[in-house]
């Protein structure tokens, strides 16, 4: 692919902290290589801001290779930018042309309050996982990996669900700010495996209760989440979550 340099106008959300009122600020970045990642472009911007004595733009990032889910930018009206099945850190500048104006916003959801600029607090996801996204394992010698027969299709489906990196783009894209795709990935991942069996019913009930407590909206099956998810988590998982919930609540003791 041909390499080129570009100048861009950035319209970036700046917010001092959770309490202050934020606003958009315009910045210009020059000589950006088409080979750079979107976050590297932000590094260039931040270096310039520091040189000018301004405060750099705060944004979340960690692995920069599409596996941790930390990077979270809503770019030109789409979480993680214009590419399909992609994270912000893996978005390359060749997605843009010279002279483009790029609008960058934080995830918007009351359950993900802004901490600073583009950084939002996603600990709500951690609390949902804590409520049931685990299995019980006895200590002692590791069990032989082949001792438990697992259907290959189910193992694959479980693995596909386990791909979720907890980035929160599904919430950001959803008109209801619902975390249902995330929750469904976590629930089906374990519900499909024999290891998930002991907590199968309590898991879905407790994780859903926590999700509702965190103030996410309710799912209406629009599918915006699936379309934006960097790991292509399928909407089928939501149907599976619904089935898990229905059975769990029907057979519940109390």
């Amino acid at each position: 692919m041909e390499h080129y340099n570009m100048n861009l106008n950035l319209k970036v959300w700046r917010q001092q902290n959770g309490k202050s009122k934020g606003e958009f600020k315009m910045y210009r970045v020059e000589d950006i290589s088409s080979e750079m990642s979107f976050l590297e472009m932000f590094d260039v911007l931040n270096e310039k801001l520091i040189q000018d004595g301004e405060e750099p733009v705060a944004f979340d990032h960690d692995c920069r290779e599409g596996i941790c889910g930390a990077c979270s930018m809503y770019i030109n009206g789409k979480p993680h930018g214009p590419w399909q099945a992609n994270t912000t850190c893996q978005l390359h500048m060749r997605a843009f042309k010279d002279g483009d104006t790029v609008v960058v916003e934080p995830w918007r959801a009351n359950a993900f309050p802004v901490i600073k600029d583009l950084v939002v607090d996603r600990t709500a996801f951690d609390r949902i996982i804590q409520a049931g996204g685990y299995i019980s394992v006895n200590t002692g010698n590791a069990v032989d990996g082949n001792a438990l027969p697992i259907n290959k299709d189910k193992a694959d489906a479980s693995f596909a669900a386990a791909m979720c990196i907890g980035c929160g783009a599904c919430v950001a894209a959803c008109k209801n700010s619902s975390a249902m795709l995330f929750l469904s990935a976590k629930v089906s991942h374990l519900a499909l495996l024999p290891q998930g069996e002991p907590e199968r019913h309590s898991r879905v009930i407790n994780m859903l209760a926590q999700m509702d407590k965190e103030g996410f909206g309710a799912c209406t099956n629009t599918g915006a989440c699936e379309a934006t998810c960097p790991k292509e988590i399928s909407l089928t998982n939501i149907a599976m979550l619904n089935k898990e919930y229905l059975t769990a609540s029907l057979v519940a003791d109390k």
């Binding site: 009206g77 609008v103 009351n110 619902s178 909206g217 099956n221 919930y245 519940a252």
Partner: protein, 227 residues
């Protein structure tokens, strides 16, 4: 997990929407099949017999109460969910996501539902109200509903034309509401097997085109004399 918790969690509310929605879909099947009798080419004899069966029989009359309860539940729950979901994002985006990931009608269920509701108010006052007020609590004693349809739809005056327009638009809104609602209802019930899902999806699209189209053809048939 109490029964109340079961139906008031975010998935529980979806379940309520799904159960009532499927119930309303079943009603549509009955309604459209009976009404299709107007095309029997017998001056409404068969249609009025069907209407008499529904009005003079205790079972459909009891089911009717259930139908209204289901409808009200569907409406109230739907609006409550819409408000609650809107509240989950106080600060919106400067650039909206738009149609990139989802169909516009799947995001507009409240609006489409409201349009259907407005149509329904007119529709009930056109037929159901005059009929039931003539019947009172008794079984039977319906008005000549075929003649009533003729009277409502065959005129050439502005009110009739406007009424027909509202009917056609109401049916279009219903079609789009069903295009999302039909398949979504089954997803909510947990249908995740690909095989069934694909089947229900095509069935849903078929249903959402054929049934509203049949309904819309009814006033048009009376108006243009296609009977």
């Amino acid at each position: 997990m109490t029964w109340k918790q079961m139906f008031t969690s975010s998935i529980g509310k979806k379940l309520v929407m799904s159960f009532t929605g499927i119930f309303l879909i079943l009603f549509l099947i009955v309604h459209v099949s009976l009404n299709a009798c107007i095309w029997a080419n017998d001056g409404g004899e068969m249609f009025n017999k069907g209407a008499h069966f529904m009005g003079a029989n205790i079972v459909p009359r009891i089911l009717e109460i259930g139908l209204f309860l289901g409808l009200i539940l569907h409406i109230v729950q739907g609006y409550m969910l819409t408000v609650q979901n809107r509240k989950a994002r106080s600060i919106g985006y400067a650039v909206s996501y738009g149609n990139g990931g989802s169909k516009w009608y799947s995001r507009s269920m409240a609006l489409l539902g409201t349009l259907v509701l407005l149509f329904l108010i007119l529709h009930l006052s056109n037929f159901w109200l005059p009929n039931r007020s003539s019947q009172g609590l008794s079984l039977g004693g319906e008005i000549d509903l075929y003649a009533k349809m003729q009277e409502t739809f065959s005129g050439r005056d502005a009110v009739t034309v406007l009424t027909i327009l509202v009917y056609v638009l109401g049916c279009a809104a219903l079609g789009y509401h069903l295009a999302h609602g039909f398949q979504s209802a089954f997803k909510t019930l947990g249908v995740h097997n690909k095989r069934y899902h694909i089947m229900l999806k095509s069935l849903g699209y078929g249903f959402s085109i054929i049934v509203p189209l049949a309904f819309a053809m009814m006033p048009l048939s009376f108006h243009f004399g296609w009977l």
